[in-house]
Structures are given as structure tokens and as C-alpha cells.
Amino acid sequence: MAIGVWLIACGADSEDQDRVERRQEVVIYTALDQLYSEPILKRFEEQTGIRVRAVYDSEAAKTVGLANRIIAERERPRCDVFWNNEVLRTLVLKDKGLLEAFSPANARQIPAAFRDPEGYWTGFAARARVLAYNTRRVAPEDLPRTLSDLTNERWRGRVGMAYPLFGSTSTHAAVLWARWGEPRARRFFEDLKRNDVAILDGNMTAARAVADGELDLCLTDTDDAHLLRSEGKPIDWVLLDHDGEGALLFPNALSLIKNGPNPEAGRRLIEYLLSPEVEAALAASQSAQIPLRPNADAPPKVQEMARGSFLEVDFAEAAAHIEESADFLKTLFSKP
């Protein structure tokens, strides 16, 4: 009881002291893997002296959990900045009126296709959807050429993907709904299921299953496949073509939360994260994120990835299909 009273007394400090305290910290919910985001946030702390209180994407909550947490906290936001590792959930938050418009100076170099015209979110450091394969079990010339080829009989039981309700897999599904239309998209996933596609907990789990030889192929992201390849595992990947239209490239998305406790610190953090140095650091890290800035600093392998052929995606249109695709996929791939 005494501890409780003491705590309440501490919490009931004067407004001025609260404001001073709040200026010195920023709360960020980040969906980018902790392994990569944490060093960057620590550098921001060292450079600015602003304490960063981060909530990371965990296997228990997933990225969609972070977005849902922001929605659940809408009456009293605890988060200042949302660092999403894809775009669509950020757009859902925008539609719900939970974001504040902010156009950072560092965003001007980002191509218009990867930032919100109204300034509610800015993309940077992208990843692509790839087809990862086990180099000991599949030869490059035998790989499927397009996404639709995965439903061929020869790949029955040999393909895996992450649970399509979370993360970039759900983004991918929503993009297919938007580009192909509902009938074709539903048919594709139904054919995948009939072809005994293995559903795993996440992109990294799927990539590990390929690296370990449990599966021959999987749908995953560039960072997961690249990390395992850099560890010397027998895995490689190719950009996943969509019937000749290119691969899906999706950026990280930064947004400022409306009525967050530390808006000024949040703006500073967003400016920092959009700086060329951060994008270069992410490109050079084991996650090999593709910079969106033209002529950005990046290792040769990442520059090679950046030269690939990519889909032109209307993320807002895809976001409009996210609920619809999720409802269907939840029923189709419900965990028994």
C-alpha cells in the first residue's frame, strides 16, 4: 500500500515537470525486427539525448498486433511514432484518423509512390517479396517462373509461406486482391491450399524451414532470405514475379501518431529515421533493405536487387482490400 501511495505521489507531479520529462523521451512501436531497429534507435538516443522507449514486434503480438494496440489505445495514445515494416496497416490507421500529418524535410528525396500525398506516412528502406529455395534440393533453372506456377502439381507439399493474416504476407495477399480481383485471388489461394502449401508462423520460420531442408521453396522477404544466406545456409532467392509484371516491393512506413505524448520528439525521430545515413545503415545490415532514394549508399548486392523489375502498386487501393482478404484467408487457412 505504501509503495502504491508513493507511486501515485510520484505520478502526480506538477504539469511543468511532466512536460519537461516528456520532452526527453519518445515512444515508438516498431515492426522492423528488433535485431535491426534497436541499434538505429540507440544511435538516435546517443546523438540527441532523447530516451527512446521502444515496443518491438514479438512473435506473440506480430506487426498487426502493434497496429491493433494503437487502435486500442486511441482514447489515450501511448505511442508517438509507428515504424511499420510494411504500408497497409499504416493506411488502416490513417483511415481511422489516428495519424497526424507530418512532412519531414528528409522525405523530399523519397519517390512520390512511396509516401502519402497528404503527409500521413513516409516510406523508406524497402523489402521485396521473394521466392526462397533450398540450393541443395532445387536447381535455379527448375524454379517456378511466376507466382501462379506455385500451384502446379510438381510443387505439391514442397512450398511454404507465413500465415497470411500477418505481416508482409497479408500485405501481399491484399495487393493480389487489388490487382487480380477477388475471384482470381481466391482461386490462387485455394489452389495453393489444394497443393498442400505449408503454413508457418512467420517469414523467418518459413525461410528457416527451406534452409533446413524441410521445404524446397517458400514465399518470404528479402531480409529473411538474405540473413540465412549470409549465415552460410543452403538457401538462395529470386524476386517473385507476378505474371511478368514484376515483384512486389514494399517500404517501411513511418507515421506520427495523433495526440501522442511526445509529438516534438516524435518528429525528430522520424526526421532521423528518414535520413540517408539510416537508409544506408539498413542497406548495409544483414537485413539488406533496399534504399528508395536514388543514388543511395548500398552494398553491390543490394544495388543489384534495386535494379529488379517491380510492380506498380496503389497501396491505398490494396489497403481497402485488407479486411476482405483477411476474412477469406482466415477461414481458408484457419489453424486446426
Binding site: A61, K62, N68, D212, S334
Partner: protein, 610 residues
């Protein structure tokens, strides 16, 4: 002449009879009070109102911090049950799917409990096959798997018998197909196996406790009439049956509620479904609905466990029980080999695997540099939770004692009657509440606290606490208070006669007297409870994911996250560093406890410590 009644030992939950003194019926005045012997440690706080006020703080804290959040949460369901049930059991297919998941959850719980019991008996038999002098150390060694968080065990086994594991590679070299080990591991039996390896020390402890209640004369007589094997079977299956049943039930509840091992071994169980509903979809009504079957089954198991616990003749630690006969040499060798295999599989395989994979000082350096804050958070939160839990458990137990003995008045018999009823009601209610709390999933406790404290009512005081970073210690207190309380409760059931006699010698109802008489008896169990709570809080994952504030992270949560993204060597190094931190922390608490005990023994030499 006054009528003095000696209370019976058979039912310690009932209050003793009250001594009546001359003068109660009116007429002759009572004799003068006997002089109270002075105790060196005494400081005089005679006021009984103050005594009662201090005593009431503990139940009040329990109600405000623990019961209110839980009741509010379940009251929310009772207020709108239809919405909760329709959101959860929305269609026949969904009900069928959930029934399948529940069946799988029950199968894992039953299998885990049964295998734990078998392994626990094996370990007990193995230790009994060694010379007596070696046994103390071996008990501690056999209990070592409890120090390793179950998700660390799962990680260790994944790195051992997974597709890229060394066991798989070795099996392949011997001509065994490479899918054999991973298929077995990522299956229901694999889940049962890993859980049993973690929880068998609990079953072993129950067998050990039960063995200390065996009557020496009975065992000796049996040993003269029957071969040792038959004596062992008779003791285990006969005398110790309730203890084995209690051990089975405890492990059953723990396996039923476990989250991390099934999640890592890709078995979809109810606790994972609840976490997905709340942590991913933020759908509290659905999460509430999903927790109902789990809570119902857990409460049934807890009720059965309670019926067993109240009937036990709890052994005093000073009492050894009958010495079980030594088995024939071939059996001793067999049990020793099997017991060694169990301990190696439970502790040796994960630890050895981590040591092998950590791959040099660089891994440890990277891990130590990046995880110092998490280690500090884990140690501080766990120590706080352990301290608060032990203090609250002692306070609640002492209130029961006070109600049972201390308010017993020698002037007014009616006060004594009221005391008896109150004491009985209080102790039974507290015991049932604790068992019920033990059966609650950690996710329910986390959700209850979030719903209660993240509330703008009362001028934002509750939300100030919610934002303060103290939520995880509070969640750990709620989760582990039942273990601490039952530990103290079991101890208090042993010495009621001594306390009654001491009460009669010293008629004053002072706080000092309560401390002097009851404190030493509760000291050992309170310290044991604090150490156990510290270890469990360091390992806690489920509630931590829900309750940690932004910017806070514990070693358990970090391990769970790192496992999915970091290279194997970093994961292995991290697990080892975490285990070392836990061992150091636990060792520190045990060291402090030992110093405290020595100090108190010198300070209060008149008091009987055990």
C-alpha cells in the same frame, strides 16, 4: 474450575477451543495476569487496535491489488455474456475447430503430467540409489531443470533435434532418416516430452515430501516381511498415492496453461489462441470467451488438488520419515542410469547445446553489450515481485493465525466463538481463492490488470500506475502469490499445538508477540517462497509480453524474439547469459536469506527457527 480443552490436530483449519477462566460466569474476580517473560528482542507495541490495523493492511492490499482486477474482469463477462460467447463461438465450424484445439491442449496436459510423474519417480529412485551423504547435492542437481525456462529447453531441443540439429545429423550418419528426429520433436509427443523434462522436478518434490511422511515403524516392518521392490511399490502406489496425485495435478495445470513450448514446437493450443485473440487482434471479448474453457478445466483440477492438500499430513523438514529399503544392485544401477539420462536430457542437452553453439567470446560479448538493460529489468522486477509476494503471503497467513489464536480472548467466550467462525471462513476462503488463482492462465491475469489499471477513473491515478512500469511485478505477484501462500499454509498446519501452548503462556495480544512466535516459523517457508517466485518471475514470458511498459523488456521476452530473427550462435549465447543471470540472482537471494537467518538466530535465540 476452568475447563481447558486441548484442540485436536486432525483438522487444522478449525479453531481451537477457548479456555474459560474463573469469573466469566460472574462472581469472583479473575486472577492477576502472569508476568510476561522479557524477550531480548522485544519492543512493546501493546495496542490491539494498532495490531488489527496492521494486520488488516494485508488483506486490503490483496483485495485492491489482486482480487479487484480479477473480479472486475470476470464481472465484465457476467455483464454481457452473450456478446462474449457469440464472438468466440461464432459458428459450428468454429466450435468444432476450438474443440479440436482444446482436445490437443488436454492431450498435451495429460501426457505432460503423466510423463513428468514417471520421470519424477525415476529421479527419486535414482537419488535413493546413491549413498546418503551425496543425496543433498543430487536433489539440487535433479531440480536444476526448473531453473531453465521451458522455452529455453524448447530452443535447446530445437537446436539439437531440429532439422539442423546435431542429433539429427548423428542419426543420419547411422542410417536413420533425417526426418525422424524433427518429425518427432515438432509433434504432440515432442511437446509432451519437452514439458515433462521441465516439470518433472515438481513431481519428484511431491514424491520426496510424501516419503518424509512415511512411518519409520511401518517401513521397517514391511522391509522385514517383503523384498525391497515390493516395499517400494507398496509405498509408491499405496502410501504416496495422494502425493503422486497432487504432483500430477500441479503439473497438469502448468502444462494446460503453458504457452511458450507449444508455440515454439508449432502445436496450436488454447493459450496460443487466447494470446492471438488479445495480443494480435486486440479483441478482449473473444479472448475472454476463449479463456473460459481453460479456466473451467483449471478450476476443476485446482479443486481436486485442494481436496488432496487439506488432507495431507504435511511433514516437518526436520523429520526424515522412514528409511526406504535399498533396492537390489541391478535395480539401483538401472535407476541410476535412467535418472542420469533424465537429468542430462532435461538440463544437460539444452545447456550443452548452447555452450557448443555459442561459438566463442564474441557471441557473449555481443549479447552482454546489448542485453544489460534487459538483465537489469528482469532482476529488479523479479526481486521486487519476490519480495512483495513473500511479504503479502506472510501477512495473509499471519492474519489467519491471528484470527485463529490471537484474538482468542480470556475474558469473553463469545469473542472466541466469533474468532473461530471468522478464522475458519477466512482460511477456507483464502485457500480456495489461492487455488483458483493458480489455475488462471497468465494471459487472463495480464488482461485483467490491463483492463483494470488502464482506466481514466479516479483522476488518472490508476493510469499513472499503469504507465509507471510496475505492472509486470504486479502481474508476477498475482501469478505466484498462490504458490507462496500455500507454502506458508502448509508450514502453519504443522505447529498449531506449539503456538496454542505459547499463546496460553503469554496472554498479551501484542504485535511483538505475533512476530516473535510466528515469525521464525514462517521465516524459512517465506524465504523459500521468495526464491521460488524470483526464479519463476525471471522465467515468466506470457504475462511479461502483455504487461511490460514501452521501453521495458525482460530476458525471457528478448529470448523469444531473438530466437526468430537472430543467428543460432547469438541465441545460444543469450540463453546461456540469461541462465547465468538467473542463477546469480537466485544465488544472491539465497545468500541474503542465509545471512538474514543467521542474524535473526543471533538476535532472537529464544525463538525456534527450522
Amino acid at each position: 474450575m476452568p475447563v481447558q480443552q486441548t484442540p485436536s490436530r486432525s483438522d487444522s483449519l478449525s479453531s481451537p477451543s477457548v479456555a474459560t477462566l474463573p469469573g466469566c460466569a460472574g462472581g469472583t474476580p479473575p486472577p492477576p495476569r502472569a508476568r510476561r517473560p522479557r524477550c531480548r528482542c522485544a519492543f512493546r507495541i501493546p495496542h490491539s487496535a494498532f495490531h488489527k490495523a496492521v494486520a488488516l493492511c494485508f488483506p486490503l492490499a490483496f483485495v485492491l491489488l489482486v482480487l479487484l482486477p480479477l473480479f472486475s474482469y470476470f464481472f465484465g463477462f457476467a455483464w454481457s455474456p452473450l456478446e462474449t460467447l457469440t464472438r468466440t463461438f461464432s459458428s459450428r465450424e468454429e466450435i468444432g475447430r476450438l474443440a479440436g484445439i482444446l482436445g490437443r491442449t488436454l492431450a498435451i496436459a495429460v501426457g505432460g503430467a503423466t510423463l513428468s510423474l514417471i520421470l519424477g519417480i525415476l529421479a527419486f529412485a535414482a537419488i535413493h540409489s546413491t549413498p546418503r551423504r551425496a543425496r543433498n547435492g543430487l536433489w539440487a542437481l535433479a531440480a536444476a531443470p526448473l531453473l531453465i525456462p521451458e522455452h529455453f529447453s524448447a530452443i535447446g531441443w530445437i537446436q539439437t533435434a531440429g532439422k539442423a540439429g546435431w542429433l539429427t545429423a548423428a542419426a543420419q550418419r547411422c542410417g536413420i532418416p533425417e526426418e525422424w528426429a524433427p518429425t518427432l520433436l515438432y509433434s504432440l509427443p515432442g511437446c509432451v516430452f519437452v514439458l515433462a523434462l521441465h516439470f518433472y522436478p515438481i513431481a519428484m518434490a511431491m514424491v520426496w515430501l510424501g516419503s518424509r511422511t512415511t512411518g519409520a515403524a511401518a517401513v521397517e516392518s514391511a522391509a522385514t516381511l517383503m523384498p525391497p521392490g515390493r516395499v517400494w511399490v507398496g509405498l509408491l502406489v499405496g502410501w504416496l498415492r495422494p502425493w503422486l496425485a497432487a504432483g500430477w495435478l500441479i503439473v497438469f495445470i502448468l502444462c494446460l496453461l503453458d504457452y511458450s513450448v507449444p508455440e515454439l514446437l508449432r502445436r496450436h493450443v488454447f493459450s496460443v489462441e487466447i494470446m492471438t485473440a488479445y495480443g494480435v487482434y486486440y479483441d478482449p471479448p473473444r479472448a475472454m470467451g476463449l479463456s473460459l474453457p481453460l479456466v473451467a478445466i483449471g478450476l476443476l483440477a485446482a479443486a481436486a488438488l485442494g481436496r488432496l492438500l487439506v488432507r495431507f499430513d504435511w511433514p516437518v523438514f526436520a523429520r526424515r520419515g522412514g528409511e526406504w529399503p535399498r533396492l537390489a544392485l541391478r535395480w539401483r544401477a538401472l535407476f541410476l542410469a535412467l535418472g542420469t539420462a533424465v537429468v542430462l536430457a532435461a538440463a544437460g542437452v539444452p545447456a550443452g547445446n548452447f555452450l557448443g553453439r555459442a561459438d566463442g567470446w564474441e557471441s557473449y560479448r555481443d549479447v552482454l553489450k546489448s542485453s544489460a538493460a534487459q538483465a537489469a529489468t528482469s532482476l529488479l522486477s523479479s526481486a521486487l515481485a519476490a519480495l512483495a509476494t513473500a511479504i503479502l503471503a506472510v501477512g495473509l497467513a499471519l492474519v489467519g493465525l491471528t484470527a485463529r489464536y490471537g484474538i482468542a480472548s480470556d475474558e469473553d467466550a463469545s469473542v472466541g466463538t466469533w474468532s473461530k467462525r471468522f478464522a475458519s471462513l477466512y482460511e477456507r476462503s483464502m485457500f480456495c481463492l489461492m487455488l483458483a488463482m493458480f489455475a488462471l492462465p497468465a494471459s487472463v491475469i495480464g488482461m485483467a490488470h490491463i483492463a483494470f489499471w488502464n482506466d481514466p477513473a479516479f483522476g488518472g491515478i490508476k493510469q499513472a500506475f499503469y504507465d509507471s512500469g510496475w505492472m509486470f511485478p504486479l502481474g508476477a505477484l498475482t501469478l505466484f502469490l498462490p504458490i507462496a501462500y500455500v507454502t506458508l499454509w502448509a508450514r502453519l498446519r504443522q505447529d498449531s499445538r506449539i503456538l496454542i501452548d505459547l499463546e496460553r503462556m503469554d496472554g498479551d495480544r501484542s504485535l511483538r508477540r505475533r512476530f516473535v512466535l510466528s515469525g521464525p516459523i514462517l521465516f524459512g517457508p517465506a524465504l523459500l517462497a521468495a526464491v521460488v517466485v524470483f526464479i519463476l518471475a525471471m522465467q515468466e514470458l506470457h504475462a511479461a509480453v502483455l504487461l511490460l511498459a514501452p521501453g521495458q523488456e525482460t530476458l525471457s521476452v528478448r529470448a523469444f524474439t531473438l530466437l526468430h530473427y537472430a543467428p543460432d550462435r547469438l541465441v545460444a549465447a543469450f540463453c546461456l547469459a540469461s541462465l547465468a543471470t538467473l542463477a546469480l540472482g537466485a544465488g544472491g537471494i539465497v545468500g541474503i536469506a542465509a545471512v538474514l537467518r543467521l542474524g535473526l538466530k543471533r538476535w532472537m535465540p529464544y525463538c525456534a527457527f527450522d
